[in-house]
């Protein structure tokens, strides 16, 4: 009990110190934005009164000071974010589950993103952060924020134009699966193209080794397309009860989720646009519901283990 009170007091101390840092950072950002604005005004005035040289020289002073201030405080802002995540978020996670831990600079490695087979396009640019890992009863799980993009290059009159397209942005959840399996099974949202592809592969030809698995749960089959090289194993994993649980889980997510069962693990991709676990910069840290939103997503991720019944370990896998 004492230690709990102590840790709460410590946490409050850290929050107070961070709040001072936050104010300093926010003020510096504001000052640099004002300086950028001032530079623009001087330039415009210079152009207006036809003293272009004066305008350019005059605007350089606030512009340079602004840039220096902006980049110098950027390092402090990074440090502030890191301390917030490790100390504040890290401590709050322990309230949900003692085994939970955050590693802000780690994430889901790119090779794992590719080998998860959740998405068919290989990313050209890949960002990941805020790895949270823990154990719920018998099942270890972890999740991280991921932003994967691919690029397209089109030739124009002025050279080549590169455009970036998002493959996936959101959270990828990984858990140790409770059944043994040999080959991968992938469940992807059903799009119009997938429906046509699935129809062709079932009725006309089989494309490659991956086959479409037609499952008897009509709701599930309408929402998802399931691919596997082993029809029986896919059904061993996707039992009628498991399909219902996945549908329930999907109802809680705004966009349709993708799931893969591979290398003895289960991957779930939740498309989300919000960037979680980031501290506020222009608003106070000392508000009671500071972490409520972020912690709700952690609780949601942990609950998946129970919802999908991953702790039932009666199928020969400890």
């Amino acid at each position: 009990m004492d230690s709990e009170i102590n840790s709460k007091t410590n946490l409050q101390d850290i929050l107070n110190t961070l709040e001072v840092d936050r104010k300093k950072i926010a003020e510096t950002y504001q000052t640099s934005y004002i300086l950028f604005g001032l530079a623009l005004v001087i330039l415009l005035v210079g152009l207006f009164i036809r003293f272009v040289a004066l305008g350019i020289i005059g605007c350089l002073v606030p512009l340079i000071i602004g840039i220096v201030m902006y980049f110098r405080i950027d390092d402090d802002a990074k440090k502030y974010k890191l301390t917030y995540k490790t100390s504040i978020v890290g401590a709050a996670l322990k309230d949900i589950n003692d085994t939970l831990a955050i590693t802000p600079q780690s994430g889901l490695p790119e090779y794992e993103f590719i080998s998860s087979e959740l998405f068919t396009i290989r990313p050209d640019r890949y960002k990941t952060q805020d790895l949270i890992s823990g154990i719920a009863d018998k099942t270890s799980f972890w999740f991280a924020e991921v932003h994967a993009e691919y690029k397209t290059e089109t030739r124009t009159k002025n050279g080549t134009r590169t455009e970036w397209h998002t493959i996936f942005k959101g959270i990828i959840f990984v858990a140790d699966f409770n059944k043994n399996f040999e080959v991968s099974t992938v469940v992807r949202p059903k799009s119009f193209g997938d429906s046509i592809g699935a129809w062709f592969s079932k009725n006309v030809f089989s494309f490659g080794n991956t086959e479409v698995v037609q499952l008897e749960n009509i709701d599930f089959d309408n929402k998802f397309v399931t691919y596997s090289r082993n029809q029986i194993e896919a059904r061993y994993i996707l039992t009628p009860a498991m399909m219902e649980r996945i549908l329930d889980l999907n109802r809680k997510s705004d966009d349709t989720i993708s799931i893969s069962f591979i290398h003895s693990k289960m991957y779930i991709a939740f498309p989300l646009s919000h960037n979680y676990f980031e501290p506020p910069i222009h608003s106070s840290l000392l508000v009671p519901d500071l972490l409520t939103y972020d912690l709700s997503i952690v609780q949601f991720m942990q609950d998946i283990v129970h919802e999908l019944d991953l702790n039932t370990r009666i199928w020969g896998k400890e």
Partner: protein
């Protein structure tokens, strides 16, 4: 002339595709059934061990054990049709399930590692058989659709392919088998 020739070639290709897909679907049915068969064999092999372990601890469940042994002997005698084998397995499965429930009365047996391993393997095979049966039913439905729908039904008539019945799924297999249900009855 070219149009007619093109039409003939097109119809020929369509015919070949339909014919091949029908044969493919029929083979998938055979394949799916043999998968169930392999899994059933695997499960039948577990029974002697299971009976042996249970025997050491219990004196009162002789009738259940005898029934299980008899069913197993019948199932592996080799004189049964596939359908009979499948239905015998359902019976056997419910007998073993009954045995698992009575294990509750024998704490020593419940703690035996050998027994626990067998129990895990049993539930695993139970789930695998359920998956194999569902696969069989899916490919049978696919095959039945093909032989009843136009135009593939014309070829089915020529090949004298007839409708195949799907396997009845026992009520228990519709649910996920959980340890709680096995032991808390």
């Amino acid at each position: 002339m070219i149009v007619i020739l093109g039409l003939i070639v097109f119809l020929l290709i369509v015919g070949i595709v339909i014919y091949n897909s029908l044969i493919g679907k029929r083979n998938q049915v055979t394949n799916a059934f043999s998968a169930i068969d392999v899994m059933l064999k695997k499960r039948f092999d577990l029974i002697p061990n299971l009976v042996e372990v249970v025997k050491q601890y219990t004196n009162y469940e002789q009738s259940t054990l005898t029934k299980i042994v008899e069913l197993r002997a019948k199932a592996t005698s080799g004189t049964l049709t596939d359908e009979e084998k499948a239905s015998l397995d359902t019976e056997l499965s419910s007998a073993v399930k009954g045995l698992m429930v009575t294990v509750e009365n024998y704490p020593d047996l419940k703690a035996n590692t050998n027994f626990l391993n067998l129990q895990t393997t049993w539930t695993e095979s139970e789930e695998q058989i359920a998956a194999a049966r569902r696969t069989y039913n899916a490919v049978v439905t696919d095959y039945n659709n093909a032989i009843m729908m136009f135009p593939s039904n014309m070829f089915a008539g020529m090949l004298s392919y007839t409708k195949i019945d799907v396997l009845e799924t026992p009520e228990e297999e519709r649910k996920n088998i959980s340890a709680k249900e096995l032991f808390n009855n």
